[in-house]
């Protein structure tokens, strides 16, 4: 009796999971019916789309890398220290997740018109540049990476770091020699989430970096550009190509992470 109830529970959970996956399969299948072999060939042969693909891969990887570099110290601080105003800081770190993407782009655009922004632009130009694409992706991706790293450190006992301190480590050495090796899978997960979020980023890039072909055009921008000229088939083909690309990259990164 107990077994059958347990099996019924697993069956119900499996059905919920299968239902969700089926929903996504139907969405992608319906989208695929708008795509033809010719449109796929056009996508592969198009110089603009090849450039957008390459730029997406490079900018997403850079944004995810920078997001991870920020997420590790911030996540560690938030998980290990109690301080006054922590709940406010916690809320502030989530602002990029809550804000509409277009607003993030608008904020970036306005910031780089301020005196501080103009000084930064003199050193590294961001507005309507490739570096602006990376920055727009980074701003949102970093918030997700920080959440992931904070969760990772919260699930790891602080005790080994405490012991490391008594064995002669500074706090930085305890982080480097003990906490980071223990958090390596969380770091892979944070990178994956940041990368995936960056690949899907559109609003801030459009507003802040523009949609200039062969310059700041990334794959989501291509979908928008193709749609705006009524080329639905190409837009669909690029969309499906993005899905394929995301799945391949995430599977490869996660498989690598399992071996770490």
């Amino acid at each position: 009796m107990r077994w059958s109830r347990s099996n019924l529970c697993w069956l119900a959970l499996a059905l919920i999971t299968a239902g969700y996956l089926l929903f996504w399969a139907l969405l992608l299948g319906a989208t695929a019916t708008y795509s033809t072999t010719e449109s796929w060939l056009k996508v592969v042969q198009s110089g603009e789309i090849r450039h957008a693909t390459w730029l997406s891969l490079v900018t997403c990887s850079l944004a995810a890398g920078f997001a991870l570099l920020l997420a590790v110290p911030v996540g560690y601080l938030m998980s290990r220290r109690e301080f006054r105003g922590k709940s406010w800081l916690d809320a502030a770190l989530d602002i990029p997740i809550i804000l509409p993407p277009l607003v993030v782009g608008l904020c970036l655009l306005i910031f780089f018109q301020t005196p501080i922004g103009k000084v930064i632009e003199r050193g590294i130009p961001f507005t309507y540049q490739v570096s602006g694409v990376v920055l727009a992706q980074f701003v949102v991706a970093a918030a997700f990476a920080i959440r992931t790293m904070r969760g990772t450190f919260e699930h790891l006992s602080a005790r080994p770091e405490d012991v490391a301190l008594t064995l002669g480590c500074t706090r930085f050495q305890a982080l480097w020699h003990v906490a980071l090796p223990a958090a390596r899978r969380g770091m892979v997960a944070a990178f994956c989430i940041a990368w995936a979020r960056s690949l899907g980023e559109f609003g801030p890039i459009l507003v802040f970096a523009g949609a200039t072909r062969m310059k700041t055009e990334v794959l989501p921008t291509t979908v928008w550009l193709e749609l705006s000229v009524g080329n639905l088939e190409a837009a669909v083909a690029v969309s499906l190509f993005m899905v394929l690309l995301a799945v391949v990259v995430l599977v490869v990164v996660r498989a690598t992470g399992e071996k770490v």
């Binding site: 006992s157 005790r159 080994p160 405490d162 012991v163 490391a164 301190l165 008594t166 064995l167 002669g168 480590c169 500074t170 050495q173 020699h177 003990v178 090796p181 223990a182 390596r184």
Partner: protein, 216 residues
């Protein structure tokens, strides 16, 4: 010698440790008992510098170390869960402190091998923590703490994860380690038999206050 001078620790308006004052002479094996949640672990954490007391002083061999960092105190700490470093082999766990201090490789290897022999874990040197039993982890954690050559060793219920047959063996190992390394030990336990077998000095924590029960 360890001197705790009127130590207090309060958190969120609650007094956990109140006016804790005691002297533990050098080369003494002190045993601390008390009910769960009475502040024993907090006291150990204050001693090794992981927590700052609300008031009072910690004096080691005549030096006030209350404001010193844990790494500056020369205190070894073995927590209840033994806190193995994930991903480091037994050899690296034991060699952790000497490597940090820049001990030359030959001397480091010699120190690791000597401790591994002493604790009977030489065949385990290339194993990861996941491949060790509770008793083996306990020996590795002790060897790792001693590799830093501490003057004082703090043990937080180090035998709680061992079964009855292994516990007797571990008790004799701790006695041997204390006398061979001329250590001052403060050992937290719930076991009266463990306390009777090991302790030269018996302390009891009661509602945040420390009492000396008996001296051997």
């Amino acid at each position: 010698m360890i001197q705790l001078d009127q130590l207090c620790w309060k958190v969120a308006g609650r007094t956990v440790l109140e006016d804790v004052t005691v002297s533990i002479p050098a080369n003494t094996y002190a045993v601390l008992m008390g009910s769960t949640g009475c502040g024993k672990t907090t006291l150990l954490e204050i001693l090794c510098g992981l927590r700052l007391p609300t008031s009072g002083r910690v004096v080691l061999d005549g030096v006030d170390v209350t404001q010193l960092e844990p790494r500056e105190r020369g205190i070894g700490y073995v927590p209840q869960d033994l806190a193995m470093f994930p991903g480091l082999r037994v050899r690296e766990q034991i060699g952790f402190a000497p490597r940090l201090r820049g001990v030359p490789q030959d001397e480091l290897n010699e120190r690791v091998n000597r401790l591994a022999e002493q604790f009977g874990i030489a065949p385990l040197l290339d194993r990861l923590p996941d491949m060790l039993s509770g008793g083996e982890k306990q020996r590795v954690a002790l060897a790792r703490a001693l590799a830093a050559q501490p003057k004082l060793l703090l043990l937080d219920e180090p035998l709680s994860a061992l079964d009855e047959s292994m516990r007797a063996e571990a008790v004799s190992l701790l006695q041997r380690v204390q006398s061979e390394h001329s250590l001052t030990v403060l050992h937290v336990t719930h076991s009266s038999s463990e306390a009777a077998a090991l302790g030269h000095l018996h302390l009891r924590m009661n509602a945040g206050r420390l009492e000396v029960e008996s001296k051997a």
